[in-house]
Structures are given as structure tokens and as C-alpha cells.
């Protein structure tokens, strides 16, 4: 689900750490990469981590194991379309699924503030159960810690997942190739805007609900029709712009988007316009970006359109050779071309 795994990520312009962790270090964008490179990557460096994906691949005599972890600190914990429990399960399920693997097992670590209502905990656990049922994964190990009132904000949930990858599938951020198309599985920005609305930070009401959903069934229905997918990634924190920048750098290619084709709900567009946000940077929790050869696009779209979470899937861009430093570009509605940078700093803290 997250874009800020401990990646082998070289920031174009590393920003010196000024001695303190800033909110932007949790944004999933440039500052996060910088913190990870400067601190975690320095010490944890190993070939599996170095691969720079949202998941880790382990070889275990014949079958490949895929694992991933995410911490969930979303505020508020209940929002239109979901809650922190659904988010925690779907997020890790999705991170594993985009490798092509079938997620099977989750672990869950709960850090709870003293005084947290049991009925809220019950509701969260129940929505984890429902999401796990939908995704057909089992929660097989857990841990519960309680800290004093005021020492945590309600509840944080860290999940880790285990999935199994069929031999032969190589789908990851470094596989994008010139000539490939970029497909998004539906409208972008829904999650971020719904969470802002739930925080009453919009200043007006909206009917946007979060897209949070487990995407493994949709992804497996795609893989049943075509194995020619080069990259899948869920554009969560940092949004489509940040995710595509990661892929451009991992694959050393340029990615060009067509602004007119990017599916955005009217209400999301309106909210972004008023707030001065670019929807390309707003988090999604139920979308996948697919990068694949042009000739496979119709097969992919057929599979996606048949699925409840992929009805609005559409081609939004293409891959080309990068002459120098890999870039994400966008043909704008008004006819120009602009560079789409990675998110720098914190746009929406605690969005997941």
C-alpha cells in the first residue's frame, strides 16, 4: 500500500536532515525517501530490500514468498467508506497483490491508547475480519500493546503480510519498457478527499467516499487473462504522481500522462480546486496502476471492467525512453507539457 518502503532510492537532490523528524518525513514523497536513505537504508541494506518495491521477495525452495508491512495511523480512524481496520488489511493485501502474488496470511500489531472505547476496537476488528474474508486472507499472529492516555492517538495498527508467487511472474517497478501503456483502475483521489472531509478540513460537505478495498481478486482476474503485465503498483500516500516517479526511476524510463484521460470524480476535482491540491498527489487506497505492452491493453481493460473495483479503468499514459534523468511528464488540457515531480513534504499527514 505504501510508497515509502526502505527503497534503494536516490533522491535527485538529497535534502539534509535537520536533526528532527518532520511531519513531511511521513508523507511518502521526497522527504520520506530521504529519511529512509539517510537512516534506515544505511543500516538495513540487503539485496531483497534493495529491490525497491513495496514488497519483499524471498526464495524458499521452489515457491517464492512475498512479504510486506505497513503502519496505519490514519486520522480519523473512521471515515466514509472504511476505517483503520479495513485500511490495515486492504493496504497490506494490496502491497502483496501488486507483485502478482496471492496474499494468504497477515499479522497485526495493535498499539492502543489507554481509554480507547472497546466498542470502537470491536468495530475495527470486525471490519478487519470482513476485509480479510473478502480478500480470503487469514490473520494468524497478533500483538496488543497499550500506552498511557495521551501517549498515542487512539489506535495504530501495523500489519505484515505473506503471499505466494507462482513461478515465472516478474512484476515490479523496474519492468516498465518504452512503448508500454499506463492504465489506472479507476478514479483517483477519492481516499484523500474523503478523509479530509471526515476531518472537517474541507470547509464544505462532500459525498466522496474512500475507495479503500482489497484488490487481490481483481488483480488475480487480470492475471488469469494475461501474464504480460510489467508493473503493478497501488498509488497510495503521495498519489499517482509519486508512484509513477518511483517507477520511472526504478525502470529508468520517462512516463507521459495525458491529463484529459485521467479519471477524476467531479466532487474530487472541485475539492482539489478549492483547496489548491493537485489530485495527482492525493492518496488512493483501492486503485492500481498497470504498466504493460500496448497490445495487451484491451485484454487488461476487459478484465478490469468486469470487476466492481475496475469499472472505470482507462489508459492514462505511456512509457518512453529516458535520455537523461527519468521523468514523469504530462500533456496538459491546455496543450502544454509539464513535469510532474514526486511529492515533496507533507501534503496530507496521516492519510493512511
Amino acid at each position: 500500500m505504501e510508497n515509502n518502503k526502505f527503497e534503494n532510492f536516490s533522491c535527485p537532490l538529497p535534502i539534509p536532515l535537520n536533526g528532527q523528524v518532520a511531519i513531511g518525513h511521513g508523507s511518502g514523497g521526497t522527504l520520506t525517501k530521504n529519511l529512509i536513505t539517510s537512516v534506515f537504508y544505511k543500516y538495513f541494506h540487503n539485496p531483497i530490500l534493495d529491490a525497491g518495491n513495496d514488497f519483499a521477495e524471498i526464495s524458499a525452495k521452489g515457491s517464492k514468498i512475498i512479504t510486506s508491512t505497513d503502519g496505519h495511523v490514519i486520522d480519523p480512524i473512521f471515515f466514509p467508506g472504511g476505517d483503520i481496520g479495513k485500511l490495515a488489511v486492504a493496504g497490506t493485501v494490496n502491497d502483496i497483490s501488486v507483485s502478482g502474488a496471492i496474499p494468504k496470511y497477515l499479522t497485526a500489531s495493535f498499539i492502543i491508547e489507554e481509554g480507547f472505547p472497546i466498542k470502537d476496537l470491536d468495530q475495527i476488528a470486525q471490519s478487519m475480519q470482513q476485509c480479510a474474508l473478502e480478500a480470503d486472507v487469514k490473520i494468524i499472529s497478533g500483538d496488543t500493546k497499550v500506552v498511557e492516555k495521551g501517549k498515542a492517538d487512539k489506535i495504530f495498527i501495523s500489519t505484515a503480510g505473506i503471499g505466494f508467487l507462482k513461478n515465472g511472474l516478474i512484476i515490479n517497478g523496474s519492468q516498465a519498457k518504452p512503448g508500454d501503456a499506463v492504465v489506472v483502475s479507476g478514479t483517483i483521489g477519492d481516499h484523500g478527499i474523503s478523509v479530509l472531509a471526515a476531518r472537517n478540513e474541507l470547509g464544505f460537505s462532500t459525498t466522496v467516499i474512500s475507495d479503500v478495498a482489497p484488490l487481490n481478486n481483481m488483480i488475480q482476474s487480470v492475471l488469469a487473462l494475461t501474464h504480460h503485465i510489467h508493473v503493478m503498483r497501488d498509488p497510495t500516500r503521495g498519489g499517482v504522481a509519486t508512484t509513477l516517479n518511483e517507477i520511472a526511476m526504478q525502470s529508468k524510463v520517462n512516463i507521459t500522462l495525458d491529463e484529459e484521460k485521467i479519471p477524476i470524480k467531479k466532487q474530487v476535482h472541485a475539492a482539489c480546486d478549492i483547496l489548491g491540491f493537485d489530485p495527482l498527489y492525493v492518496a488512493n487506497e483501492g486503485k492500481v496502476l498497470f504498466i504493460l505492452p500496448e497490445r495487451e491493453v484491451s485484454t487488461l481493460l476487459k478484465a478490469l471492467h468486469a470487476h466492481q473495483y475496475g469499472k472505470n479503468a482507462v489508459v492514462i499514459g505511456s512509457i518512453s525512453q529516458s535520455s537523461n534523468s527519468p521523468k514523469v511528464l504530462m500533456h496538459t488540457r491546455i496543450g502544454g507539457t509539464r513535469i510532474v515531480d514526486m511529492l515533496s513534504g507533507a501534503m496530507l499527514p496521516r492519510i493512511c
Copy 2:
């Protein structure tokens, strides 16, 4: 490392939840079991979770995968003998190791308070690296979230681990058998007392340092000499008393301890006397309880005494049939026998 996995644990006297999470729900004792049974277990119930161990076993075509997770919220984050980073790595390494499996991979989820010093984060990551090196495990996936100042206490780290179990080894909490001996790998209570001292809650100074250590190498050196171990478990939060109560219930046996034989450092004894603590309930982070046939004890002790973390290993009790409800009993120094209950409520919050 933890004793409060989402176990299939029936509390002898379930305590009704009174609507709010209490500090005691994080103690690892009776209240924790009750919360887990009442909320998480109700929804997450499945055969792997039901096994009631600190680890989960997954069958994956031939080789068995062992997984475990822990959240770390220790206060203070730096203490004599270690820090939250060493604790996070060692804790998950140990939970996997006590299944008999060899831990290989860890994931790490960081939840950090805005303003947290980078130099502290660096030191924590470095001690995770050192502990991972000693344990020969790799950190292969991570996640970083930052919350606003005051919304978390410095840093919380949730780790999940993956290990591989050789076919044939069946070591878990339900394997204790009448006639077995109980061995502890060294002195008890060191971790809890060192952390209290670091919090300046003792009211006097002490030289006790935490025993936090990765125990996989010691455990593997034991398994190289004998495969006849029935149970291994690390007596962390809730201490030896809580861990043995868990095992007594899982195995449906009585466990009888000999107070005189329990190894306790003088300073730990003194601190416990002054504070009114029973060292049997004080957390350890570098100890293992072994339960095995009497005839295998000398082989076990030979292996343990040869290892830096097992020098003070000693037999502390035995297993007998349980006529009715499983119990932990103790022959006291003054000649009587008392029941050793599971920890109820919070003795030392945020000890791990």
C-alpha cells in the same frame, strides 16, 4: 517475545470489559487475554491463530514457515543494555526461535512522533542492524509513518518475522508432559528492573542491565544436541509466572516450581523486595524456558552452559498431571506450596 498473541485462551474467570481499554490490557496477563478473547479472537479466529503460540506456523509445500509479530512501545527507548531497536529485532527473533525454527527475515514498521531527533533514530536503526547481524536475519521490508507532536510517544516499532522450520520438529506450548523438567536459561527479572531504573522509578540506583538479546544461536546450539525439547518459550511481559500459566493451560498439566532454585540476581531481588514486586512476574528479554524429558536435562544444560546467554541455566521445576484445572504451583523457601497465578492487570506498563 510476547505472551499475548491472539491466543485460543480461555480465562478461568473472564473479566467483563468495562467499555474502555485500560493500561492493564497491555500487560500480557489476564486482562490482555481477556481483551484478545473478547474482541480480536472473536473475529480473527482460524486454526493457525487458535494454536495459541507466540508464533504462527504456515505449511508451504514441504517447508514450514513460522511467522510472528510484536509492537514495541518501551519507555524509555534507551535503557541499560539496549534500546527499542535491539528489543524490536531480538523480540521477534526470539518468538520465532522458540518454535524451533530458524528466523531469517524481518519487516519493520516505524511510527514516529514529529520532532523526534534524527540522531536517536540513527542510533536505534544502528542497534537494529547490530542485533540483526548477530542473529543473522535480514530486514527486508519496512514502513515509516510520522504523526504530529504529542500524538505518539517518541517512537513505536512493530516488527514481524519469518523463519523456516525443519520438518519433524514439534515444539510448542501444548507439548509439556508429566515427568518433564522445567529449565530456565538464566537469571530472571533483569529486563524489567533495568527499565524501571532507567525510568528513575526505583528511588535508588542499580547496576542491573537488561538481558535483551537474540537467542536463536543459543537455541540452535541446543537443537543440534537434542531434538527432545517439548516446549520453549521466552518469558517476556508478564514474566515466568504468566508464561508458565499459559503453558500449563495449553498442555493441561500442573507445573511445580522450586523457589530456592530460581536464579535471581541479588540486585533484582533487592529491587523487587523494596518495590513489592514478585520477580516471577517481571519481564525478561533474553531468557528461554525449556520443558523437556528429565533424561534430556543434562544434554540441554551442557549446550546452554557453553553459550554466553545460557551460562546460568538451571532446572527450576517439573511437570505433573493436572487433576482438574491446570495450575502453576511453587514450593516456597519456607516450606509451603502456593499457587502462582497469571499476572492480572498492569504491573509494569510499557516494559517492551
